[in-house]
Subunit: 411 residues, 2 copies
């Protein structure tokens, strides 16, 4: 396995934020020795009796045992009560046959026994190697220790325990003023820096102290996932294990009807921040790129066109090479399968108009485009001229380092 | 622009075949100086009065002017008559606004004037740089010269004139015994080795001496394209200019009803051979990979799953690294959006059973998989266990050389 020692050049300069404590919420992490040596690889979060939980998961047809277990439990957990989340790194517990669900069963039973959270409200996520049976005995024998370490100020340590080969931990937070007072939202994510021998599983954990009905939270999380984590792509590949869980402990202010928009805006901000951090830790990433599509027939069409551009290897290699290659963007629009008309298509790099209504813009100069492409943060706007649909997606470039990470080692 | 001087390691050892002459068919090529220096860059093929023509084209919404012109003409050319095909390399005449169709008009008018083929039966294709106006005056002033050079034995020279940065010319042929006697099929293709600053446009030209009704030929070509050229992928990107044209001169044996299956089989063989040669000239390719999907709910589902695997950057980089990383194949099956069940999924590398019914196969040894992956020709079989649908698709690996070709130059 290749060890990537450096931190992504796109990592936030400010480092991991000092996450606020959330009333009713505690974390713990320790080193259970599942695969990695000398670092934390399991984490536990426990939220109090007033909590609700919402979530979204990978749509993969070969999704992992923990995801299958979470999906069922989430269907049943529509009311308030205690919630536990257990995560291990180093082993994805995916494609492990019947062993997979048996491991989940043993782990969640032990977490339930120790924490007194009903097993039906104990959620798990696993990330790491695929196809190896999870050594769940190494986990279950440490769950008492883990529970004994629970404390409100351990969020960063918990976040770090979920990392695989991420080059940095990803955290974000917000406060929002509701009618009953200020509410907090914190979250952390891992993803996109994974190496051997699998894919960039994304795990996202978000917590708030608000009081909110589970169905409202679930609806909001589904909608926001579509605008954030489902709008990012590193390499178009979808993990078997992607998991987003949001817990509201219910010990802070209530989200009244009039507060809902403000709370959703704040949650959106935290989710988008984490989503961007995941892209910025994309394997081999040297550029962070927003693809903004305007003038599509509707928003869904705009997103499809955006992802066609963001996933195109030819576009992504051009960006890696700092090449203002707008012809490849035309190509990626064309292949998206959405309504488009060459003679209405315009493209901008930042503020620079590159192509206008089906041809290179009159006053576009190649050297201006080339200079713009040297930026680490890029905005590429594609105006289709077909309607009012718009969407943004975020991606990174496709560099030699991606190939090095994913090809140049023997598992 | 990077010049790639070496020939793909996957090129046929036997070189370009000595293509048979086809009664009623002549070729010519010369250097018109469109972009390249010191090499042929235009070619003309003219077929006699009994000819029919069929074709398929890119489905891109931003397809090039020559493609748009060909589509219209093909709709109208349902009967026998003379046919001309003109191709230039070095400039794609794509995304050139209204100039594009005006250039096609001027070129096809001049070809018609000189060859006496009706303009409505003069087809063109262009491949090369996107977004630059085609210098059609350099072409039209040489069409008389080109027509003066027409000869039955110039197929290879014509094939070479259509190349852009292909590392070798691609030809194939077959003979097939029909009731009235032996028929010939020849063809050549360019594609997948293109560099600056666009994508791997694929142009395919096939010729036969058979007598066949145009609608029957068109139907056959559509069906065979789906099984051949539409089953290959280098990087999932779709050109604005992909064109397949098939001309039957009608001067050889008739394809009677009882001959149709034999003729279709022979045409399929030539098309598949050319399709494989295009993949083998894929940018940076070091491995030629067949992905065979069995047990899907239907053939279309099998093809979708196959393309999901064949287009996955994580699968393709693993192949480049000779890594028997079956976990990534599980992932790519899962993300395809087609019916699949982890616990029915089996995977074979060549004859080696790697995974069986949702888990690593009992007697699979990693060193066997690793040894197999050292081959240049790979067969990966995925059995879904859902039904009787099957399909094969063909791809190459994703190597450092792909990034070098597509990123490490400034246009």
């Amino acid at each position: 396995m290749v060890e990537i020692s450096h931190v992504s050049p796109l990592a936030p300069a400010s480092g991991f934020p000092a996450l606020a404590e959330i009333s009713g919420l505690q974390f713990a992490a320790l080193a259970a020795g599942i695969k990695y040596k000398g670092r934390d690889d399991v984490m536990l979060a426990v939220a109090g009796d007033q909590s609700v939980v919402a979530g979204t998961f990978t749509k993969s047809a070969t999704r992992s045992a923990p995801v299958l277990d979470c999906e069922i439990k989430l269907e049943l957990a529509k009311t308030a009560g205690p919630v536990a989340i257990f995560v291990n790194s180093g082993n994805a517990n995916a494609f492990t046959g019947g062993n997979g669900l048996r491991s989940v069963e043993r782990i969640t039973a032990e977490v339930a026994r120790v924490t007194h959270v009903p097993q039906s409200r104990v959620f798990t996520a696993s990330t790491g190697v695929i196809g190896e049976v999870l050594p769940d005995d190494r986990i279950t024998e440490r769950i008492s220790d883990l529970a004994g370490m629970l404390a409100p100020d351990q969020a960063e340590r918990a976040a770090r325990a979920t990392m695989t080969t991420d080059t940095y931990p990803k955290g974000a937070q917000a406060t929002v003023d509701l009618s009953e007072g200020p509410a907090k939202i914190i979250g952390f994510a891992k993803g996109s820096g994974m190496i051997a021998p699998d894919m960039a599983t994304m795990l996202v954990h978000l917590f708030s102290d608000v009081k909110i009905a589970q169905p409202r939270l679930q609806e909001m999380v589904g909608r926001l996932t579509d605008q954030t984590f489902n709008c990012i792509t590193v390499d178009s590949d979808t993990s078997t294990s992607d998991t987003i869980l949001v817990v509201a402990t219910g010990e802070g202010p209530k989200v009244s009807n009039s507060d809902e928009a403000a709370f959703e805006t704040a949650l959106h901000q935290v989710m988008l921040d984490l989503a961007h951090q995941v892209v910025k830790d994309g394997e081999g990433a040297t550029k962070f790129v927003e693809i903004r599509v305007e003038g599509a027939v509707d928003n869904a069409s705009a997103k499809t066109v955006g992802l066609s551009i963001a996933n195109s290897p030819l576009v992504k290699t051009a960006i890696a090479g700092e090449d203002p290659n707008w012809g490849r963007i035309v190509m990626a629009v064309g292949k998206a399968g959405e309504p488009a008309d060459r003679d209405k298509l315009s493209i901008r790099f930042g503020e620079i108009e590159v192509a206008r209504e089906g041809w290179v813009a009159n006053d576009y100069r190649e050297e201006d485009g080339a200079a713009y492409m040297k930026n680490a943060d890029l905005l590429i706007t594609v105006a289709l001229g077909m309607g009012a649909g718009a969407a943004s997606v975020w991606t990174c470039d496709l560099s030699h380092q991606y190939i090095t990470i994913n090809a140049d080692y023997r598992s």
